[in-house]
Symmetry: C2
């Protein structure tokens, strides 16, 4: 939990640095609001039992509830972040970092703006967070739904199959092109030459030069949609260069993203494996993803008014797994509490003094603990401090009481100094501010 | 949301000051785990639809899941806090601060310890939080389930009716004794003289002297259970005096607390109304509550092993309502974002420079924003800062570019100073640390 909290603090800190305000929506939505938003994954939605009242479902992500919120409240412009739980009916396979309940951290920009500026900011945020968390090297794959659709069209995929083929492409990070091609031809009934044409494209990835190359591509350059997408990607890379992150971004024609609601730029960050990790088949999939969804808000608005949106989601559960795994590997121990001072006594019948003293520390804002025993042994008390990583111990006994002093002990160095009783709080605060 | 965050930070800060670690449990529990834990309120539990797999329900509070967690993981000792959502099937009546989904903040101490030390700490925590939030004057009512049961027994309530009578007593903060008495006699079939005997007790409240008085009470002093409860309450008040909070605590024989699982000390904090509030019938009920539940963990353990627990729950939703209401009354405005610097330009075609500059600020950890427009008007940009309460504006234009400087403007004073481009980040950080 401590690791989680630190990671979340860092993520939220970045969202705030980019001017987002926090928004919270309820855990359940009307069932009808969630239907037909998630494509093949709709079966993973948790429904509530009909106990009277509306039919409700648990939210599947934070994006659809955000769009519903914007439409319901007629908000035309908003930059918000949301950290919250979402639920999916999956069998938990912890190795991959997928659970039935998990935390999502989303940042979204809603509103009509000049093209690609908010999109570039989303990618900048992903870079800041992934660099900040020091997860190792990463790359963000970028594509555009319109480029994908254009590519399908010029390759000769019938429009009715766009969706199915798109889902297959999405599997390319897990299975090989050969297997994907086989499924396209054998299961989806695509002509082999159509599949091969797709294959030529989806194996391409690169930077701005690849965008230029696609602009010149004899087939793709004939497609209006694809050209729109490529134009936006070119502008995006211009901004990414200004942000100093272009070398982290890869235009990748195999990036598809399964969800139905994306309409423009899409992106997904993956950690680059070290050779050692690749051998252990240490695969965590994507750690952050997102894209542009310009039509989702309109689906919730009675009059169909659109609010263009772009956003990102940080895969914090996977990041938690990675950091935990790494801590295990390096044998790191993390404190689970923040207690600064422990109140101890070597003598019997000192509970009253300990209680008075600890109340004084609490009231001064100092994080303090004692054992809930009338007469604990000194050794037990000191061991507790070592186990819990508490740095300071205040020791009070009969002799100290008589002299009006108190002993302050450093747990690490075992050094003890005597301090006037009335200076205790000040001395502790001084020590804590120094450390 | 900003207000909520500040309140939650303050509450969590207090929990950490008392050495608690954070724990998080899933939003749903097995349906069977929640049954027969909440008495009359069980009908308010949200069940999930049976879509295959286990029958699940949304958690109703954070206490039962905590007890289930302790039993499942065989944890014998733990001090934890939990901030999370819980769900209840109520028609939302926002005036009273009750929703179908709401946030709970719980602190609990599990383990076998010397009596009343953890209980006293729970009350200390409630005092620290309620004082810290400056909600106005408050009092914490304290009673003990065993005193209640003993009282029912000596008054002549048949044991089968303890539960129903207890629930009626719990209503005494909403309806008068006269009405409660009527329900006892007319609806629950209690003999009028039994009801009158109860009435004599439940109208008593006071401090340590009332405990002493009850020890001498001819009827109550004959009941073993009641004496046990009174003995613990006496010890509790001793510790509360050492903590310096005894004057905030009132032994109140009318405090019942509806939930089934309490076994010992129970408590509930209420805000004291000013005469003006009383006239507006500004009633928010209790703002924090809790008690001892020594048998709940055993109910989840296959062998029935008990882990005694004591805890408290802060009614943060009600506190949010109160603080919001007060802010409305005083017309206070709160910033929804934390942006420190806005990057502006008075000229056209300066998007590239703005993007480069803002990336530099973000990379230095400065919270910064710009408008997502190629050519925004300067006035629009300055208005945005005023609306959002952003304190500083960085202004870049052709002249500044030539001279290698930048203008830094204070939004409040409208003062502008020229700064060397390379000193910008340092100067902003200096200004921010001073303010």
């Amino acid at each position: 939990m401590v690791v989680r909290e630190k990671i979340l603090d860092m993520v939220v800190g970045c969202f705030k640095r980019h001017g987002a305000k926090r928004l919270d929506t309820p855990a359940f939505e009307l069932k009808e609001m969630l239907t037909e938003k998630y494509g093949e994954d709709s079966g993973l939605i948790y429904d509530l039992k009909d106990q009277g009242g509306e039919l409700l479902s648990l939210r599947y992500d934070l994006t659809v509830p955000f769009a519903r919120y914007l439409a319901m409240n007629k908000v035309k412009k908003m930059k918000r972040y949301h950290v919250g739980k979402v639920w999916r009916r999956e069998s938990p396979t912890i190795v991959q970092g997928r659970y039935r309940e998990f935390c999502q951290c989303d940042f979204d920009i809603a509103g009509q703006f000049d093209p690609m500026i908010p999109d570039a900011e989303c990618l900048k945020i992903m870079c800041e967070i992934l660099s900040g968390l020091q997860l190792g090297d990463f790359i963000i794959k970028v594509n555009d739904r319109r480029v994908l659709d254009g590519m399908f069209a010029v390759c000769g995929v019938p429009e009715s199959k766009f969706h199915a083929i798109c889902s297959l492409i999405d599997k390319l990070d897990k299975i090989s092109w050969k297997d994907v091609r086989h499924e396209m031809v054998a299961k989806k009934g695509l002509a082999p030459e159509v599949a091969d044409r797709i294959g030529d494209y989806v194996q391409c990835h690169g930077g701005v030069s690849l965008i230029e190359q696609m602009f010149q591509d004899p087939r793709l350059s004939q497609n209006k949609q694809a050209l729109d997408g490529l134009g936006d990607l070119k502008l995006l890379f211009e901004y990414l260069t200004l942000f100093g992150i272009a070398e982290k971004i890869s235009f990748d024609l195999s990036l598809a993203r399964g969800l139905d609601y994306y309409t423009g730029v899409i992106y997904e960050a993956v950690l680059l494996q070290t050779p050692a990790q690749a051998q252990e088949s240490f695969n965590v999939g994507s750690v952050a993803a997102g894209g542009r969804y310009d039509k989702l808000v309109g689906m919730f608005d009675p009059k169909g008014h659109k609010v263009p949106c772009v956003g990102l989601s940080i895969g914090v559960e996977r990041i938690f797994s990675i950091v935990e795994q790494r801590m295990k590997t390096f044998g790191q121990k993390i404190r689970t509490t923040e207690t600064q001072v422990f109140v101890a006594t070597p003598q019997k019948n000192f509970l009253h003094e300990r209680l008075k003293l600890i109340a004084e520390l609490w009231d001064a804002g100092i994080k303090a603990e004692l054992l809930y025993k009338n007469n604990p042994k000194l050794l037990t008390q000191l061991h507790y401090c070592e186990d819990m990583g508490i740095p300071l111990v205040v020791i009070i006994g009969e002799q100290e009481m008589k002299e009006g002093i108190i002993k302050l002990r450093s747990v690490a160095s075992r050094e003890e100094v005597a301090i006037k009783r009335e200076n205790l709080v000040a001395e502790i605060q001084k020590r804590l501010s120094e450390s």
